[in-house]
Subunit: 169 residues, 2 copies
Amino acid sequence: MIVVHHLNNSRSQRVLWLLEELGIEYELKCYERDRETMLAPPSLRQVHPLGKSPVITDADLTIAESGAIIEYIVNRYGNGRLIPPPGTPERLRYTYWLHYAEGSAMPPLVMRLIFELFGIGDSKAMDAFIAPQIKLHFDYIEGELHKSTWFAGEEFTAADIQMSFPLEI
Amino acid sequence: MIVVHHLNNSRSQRVLWLLEELGIEYELKCYERDRETMLAPPSLRQVHPLGKSPVITDADLTIAESGAIIEYIVNRYGNGRLIPPPGTPERLRYTYWLHYAEGSAMPPLVMRLIFELFGIGDSKAMDAFIAPQIKLHFDYIEGELHKSTWFAGEEFTAADIQMSFPLEI
């Protein structure tokens, strides 16, 4: 059975949503962030050397990285659900958003969070780089969502789940 | 024919390497960063609304995001080359590194670059967060590369090409 190593306020929320959506049984192991540093507890390092969440284990497999976990669950257990058929423009968009969420949308959002956490939110870097990047990305996302009902097209897919985290942040 | 919209000193280097490795013909369109802001020129926005590189066009398709471009080229033109067979542990690792490169390894490296660019390299955020994150990731990468010759296993794959950018940075 899949075990989800779940950290509060983290990217692992998406993995739970995906598993619920597909109706897959799983076991939940909860971890709490250190209240001062906001970092994951050392116990997560026993699951994966980076000590980050989400991580899932499935029999003898340990899988980290949100996009890779989603691809694994959908391909292994989805039976074609939540993924557009291969060779379609929707499949291409699906793969694109799976990568874009963490590769492009999240980095400026995490940067803003770090800047605020360390009290340098009112800095030239924020005004000249981070804030304009966030605006650029969200204007772009808004525009793309005017083209279709869901990120990959007219059907809800795991790409929408993957994109939920930057949007909620 | 695939057109690679190539920006100097950028992630698009990987796309060229992949195309050369697979022996695929392509057309190269070069763009130069603004020497002051280091940002991509506005002309790239005519190719893709985010105005970033890499972007490729292939007939009527426009594809952005390094991981998605690599998946597209390997799946569409690779004939099974540079990708481990489906259902193997190597394929799982391949997908993992494709996502990890931009989703986990690059963000702290980009943050360090931004901090240095804006003269805040000697800050608490750098010492307490960014530098330890970079060390954590590179210790991890080093450890993983002791387990196998290439990132996904004993064969060279497109995951190695995808991981080349954070390593070169």
